[in-house]
Amino acid sequence: MITVENASFTRGRRTILRDVSLSLGINELVAIVGPNGAGKTTLLHLLTGALEPSSGRVLFEGMPLHTWRKDHLATRRAVLSQSRNVSFPFTVYEILALSMPDRTNRRHLQSLSETALASVGLAGFGARVLQELSGGEQQRVHLARALMQLAATRSAAPQMLFLDEPVSGLDLQHQIQTMQLVRQMTGDAFGAIAVIHDLNLALSFADRVICISEGKVACDGPPATALTSELISRVFKVSTQSLPVPGGGRVLVPDMHPAKQSTTTDHPAKVIS
């Protein structure tokens, strides 16, 4: 359980987040969406403790995040961040071992590694050097590392997984695979929070969508009610249609050529040119 109380974040003169209050449970998959520069990643940084709020506070299990011991915190939550370059040529096995608690049994480590690699579709990649893999594969290795960090200490205590744009740079198959994987793990004292750009992925997989716009929470709720066409056109400046999908659910289709429509109504003068 993580609680944000009236958190603001300013960098220089720019206020990136303004008085945000949220409470994120441990049994839900929460998607954080919003336009570029809205403050999504900053919010995630506050939630993971990578940044401290300029004012307000962030509590993890009732305790301010920065008072947690780093090794204790690592058993309760894992983070897939956006920076994924590793400075030395480690093998995939070695990378996976980096997030393990200090004294992990060697055999246990190996079996956890195989399970984690298989779950991200990289079985048999363990002995490869990370830098020799493609960008998308490297990203999935880091996802496996985050999953393994939590699996190593899976106990009764609830755990959370934070993902900063987990599917950016992945092909369609692995975008869906990744979201399915996170979806499957969620629930049963396991919560996931993901910054996502693709609204349809948020719509299909999330239990709850939080939309950030200009440093504030613009919407917060189940995807079907939160992600309305009205909200999307207000926040993203794009008009969308919500179409039903055969077999249930719906899909958002953005209007790809808005200029033709809007100019005729809003700016008649421009049509002449």
Binding site: D71, L73, F88, F90, Y93, G124, A127
Partner: protein
Amino acid sequence: MSADVIPFRLAIRHPAHQLKLKLVGLLCLSVLLAAASALSISRGAVLIPVADVIQSVLGHGTQRSDLIIWTIRLPRTLMAGGVGASLALCGAVMQGLFRNPLADPGLTGVSSGAAFAAVATIVLGQNAFGMAATNWLPVTAFTGGLAVTLLLYAIATRGGRTSVTTMLLAGIAIGAVAAAATGLLIFMASEQQLREFTFWTLGSLAGATWHKSFIVFVLLAISIPLWPYLARGLDKLALGEADASFSGLRVEHTKAIAIILTALLTGVAVSVSGMIGFVGLVVPHILRLTIGPSHGLMLPASALLGATLLILADTFARLAAAPAELPIGIITACLGGPLFLWMLLRDRRLMSI
């Protein structure tokens, strides 16, 4: 490359073989070190057969070989080993800390601080206190090196967080100022003082004594219990500081230990032997390309290989122009430079520079 055809370089790093191959690797390096030591003790102005060396070390030698070995060769070989181990170890730690394979022990400002203190001792000290001031050179060089490191550390730390990038850049700035001050003192120096300083910057183990090698080894020994802790920390830091912290590392603690340890070890090494370049840069490189970047194996292996290489370089320095001695810095640079270039070109794709 399929999973079951793994080249040796990777096989040694596979978790299934790790422990066994790790021990074999360290054992090989130890044997190499022992051989280099024996060679170094037996060769010199007077050649003593290796068998006699072993006899003498075990306490059954002749008076003549005992004298040469116990008063001249042994302290010198030990000091070469200790200094080489310290420099290579610090190189490995610095490269891990700065996440850059081009880092070397001098990055914490130790070298520039020590060089300035050394020239100040030689020029100002001798002018004020006479020739005896030079005896204090190891102490002043050590103090100068440590002072600059602590200054850099203080500059780069704000609100309990140390920025290694700031430290690196501030190190360049302070290094420039120190170089200017060093230059000014060189301008003021006499011919004799200039020569003395030049030799110091090229490095030499000619001043080896039991006392000095003892200091080097004590510090090295004290650092050993910290190696496993540092190794885990440096491995995690390869992910970047934020991710290292997410994986449970106390990042600031690790950085502080790494910086202070390298400042002390490099400071002592520089103070007893002058500036010896390239050992700290090249040794971790050779190892990373053969045994992989994991610091658990890298730190002890660096110490062993660094000791071996510097002992061999020193032996060569004593023999090449006998009875004169070449400055050892010339040899390490002549070997290290081309070797480094070769490795760089050979394994370009594996390094992110």
